[in-house]
Symmetry: C2
Subunit: 379 residues, 2 copies
């Protein structure tokens, strides 16, 4: 008996063997490059997944919200980097977590934030560990490596805060497609962040942490001289966007959404499922890549891609799949009512966030009961 | 003291006065047209919101998942239409709800589903109330009004199921822009569904329910002769897509996401916030309308739109707003670190689904403590 047949769909499936392989691949690269690895837990939001990453050798984690910090600390993680620039409205929350014993590192990218955090810390008897955000690719926030503002920010971190180091994220690596371009971006990320650290050290700041990373650059870097730690998130599951970037194959992707055929529109060649955008998210991240997968890659219940069935359109709880293949069978016999399909997502972080839990496909296959790993959401 | 200033962002805000006005507007239209109104609860997924709709005169609700049916039944709603075609994998769940006393109506659009449901009901001593899905605009699923398949499906509903009526949803109304086109679509939806009912009655089926609706057609119909009930969901909050369709103004939109300025990139004209796609969803529903609002309409903390500040790009927990205005103030003084902004969403259903609760802005303003209304998610 196929255990998936008993599930009420849509359901988020996690292929444990693929996840374990992805974790091992990244950790062994980081070990070989001689850097500490601090995975980004925003992808899974799941303590069971993070435990696997830590067991494989990760040291500390990265989070994108203080709720993630709170939940993972409650699950036993002691060392957490909150890698989004902090603002005064979140100081109280950060202070509570520090007082509970969490080794929390914060991020700033302005003199104003550094001053306010330092004053807040001093007023509350706390010295916050802080990284300064460095911009190495112009894609979002941070201070350019040569900008004198870096020194001003470091100088403002005194009293209730201390400058622990620098951090960058080469998010524009997601737009690249070739190993050469990815290697060049990884080197740009490394060199920029190390240069920022050297500038700070020359001005008398200890700057012990030099933190870089994104999944594409982490998997492409040839050398990480001067870097102390690397961060990456989506590698744990991978997704179609990462396959388009070229750092994984579709066969590495550990997530899929199990859905059910609920109708047909034979004259249009449409197969209707109960997996709509609520189950997939509205993320269309492959739309600007060479291969646009629509709302995801359509596979059969065993996970084998179905050539000619495209996920073109989605409503809240309806997927509309377009059959473009040739088949002598009528559509309703080729994909009968009640048949299950699996959709591989464009973006693991976005699709995961739509679901309350992962149903874990056991590594060994076979007849073990399916496990359910809860994930959390919100702020 | 502004009570919003105390909130840790991002947070989903609900303007209670606007919601109440939207509810009253729709209910009074339905009352004037002489039809029963059955709001679609997939938009709010919140018992407190649905209670307002019922108190205003709605009779029963519509849902898009059996989890919604279960939760709203637990909250006291007795009469629920599950308006997505049912498949065998969900029969058990539906049966459990019926046995608990819920007056549940199901939907089918194939002979296969009708037969299987009838057999399942007969085998379990249950007679399910069933509507047949009618297609009046070709946008998704359902049977065309004149298709003889309608009679076959109705005939297959016997024993453990009975044909209670017909249902259609003119989802293509979302693509329209003018009152004339919307009125024509509302009439097409009405006429097609009534014709389907008449065909079934002529063949001896009672077909007491003729259910139509979408927010745009419900607000545009001039006459609903032959229709017994109307369904609509997003009207309760409205959103930028509905404003683009022309059935509301931005001033009617009851939802917004409160976020905080966390950084700047002055040379690029960027204001960085802590409201990214996790807080807004990836829904870009206005992209194909006359006015593309990016990831949402940027307003100040009081809800007044800020001309020249566009929400062009989003990462998971970062919004990147592009300043295109002219101002003698530097960007970091115009939108200082820690300042709050409110983002009006493209699509209320999608943005709402990213949040665990609504923070309710009281109708009277003033100093009453902010209420928090929980919403649920998942399947």
């Amino acid at each position: 008996m196929n255990p998936l047949a008993e599930l009420e769909t849509p359901v988020l499936l996690l292929d444990e063997a693929r996840m374990d392989r992805n974790i091992a691949r990244m950790q062994s690269r980081m070990d070989a490059l001689g850097v500490r690895f601090r995975p980004h837990a925003k992808t899974s939001k799941c303590p069971a997944v993070v435990q696997r990453q830590l067991a494989a050798g990760a040291r500390g984690i990265t989070v994108s919200t203080l709720k993630e910090a709170e939940r993972f600390f409650a699950a036993g993680v002691q060392d957490i980097l909150y890698a989004v620039a902090i603002v005064p409205g979140k100081f109280d929350h950060a202070l509570r977590l520090c007082r509970q014993g969490l080794q929390l590192t914060l991020l700033v990218e302005s003199v104003a934030a550094a001053q306010q955090l330092s004053q807040f810390g001093a007023a509350h008897g706390q010295v916050f560990d802080v990284l300064i955000e460095v911009d190495t690719d112009g894609h979002r926030s941070g201070i350019a490596p040569g900008d004198p503002l870096l020194l001003d920010i470091a100088a403002a971190l005194q009293g209730g805060a201390r400058c622990k180091g620098v951090m960058t994220h080469a998010g524009s690596s997601y737009d690249l497609r070739t190993p050469e371009a990815l290697q060049a971006m990884a080197e740009q990320e490394r060199a920029g962040c190390v240069a920022a650290a050297q500038g700070l050290r020359a001005a008398g700041h200890a700057c012990e942490v030099v933190s870089v990373g994104s999944t594409p650059t982490a998997l492409s870097a040839r050398d990480l001289a001067g870097v102390t730690e690397v961060r990456a998130g989506v590698y744990v599951f991978f997704d179609l966007v990462m396959a388009g970037v070229g750092v994984c194959t579709p066969g590495d992707i550990a997530l899929s959404v199990l859905c059910t055929v609920i109708g047909h529109r034979p004259e249009a060649g449409w197969v209707i499922t109960d997996g709509g955008w609520m189950a997939m998210s509205r993320d269309r991240g492959t739309a600007r890549q060479d291969h646009d997968h629509g709302y995801g890659l359509v596979c059969d219940a065993d996970g084998a891609p179905i050539a000619g069935l495209r996920f073109d359109s989605a409503n809240q709880e309806h997927g509309v799949l377009q059959w473009t293949g040739y088949d002598s069978l009528p559509l309703a016999e080729r994909f009968p009512l009640g048949a299950q399909l699996r959709i591989v997502p464009n973006h693991a972080c976005a699709t995961g966030a739509q679901h309350p839990a992962y149903v874990v496909l056991p590594a060994a296959g076979g007849s073990a009961p399916l496990q359910r790993w809860e994930r959390f959401s919100g702020w």
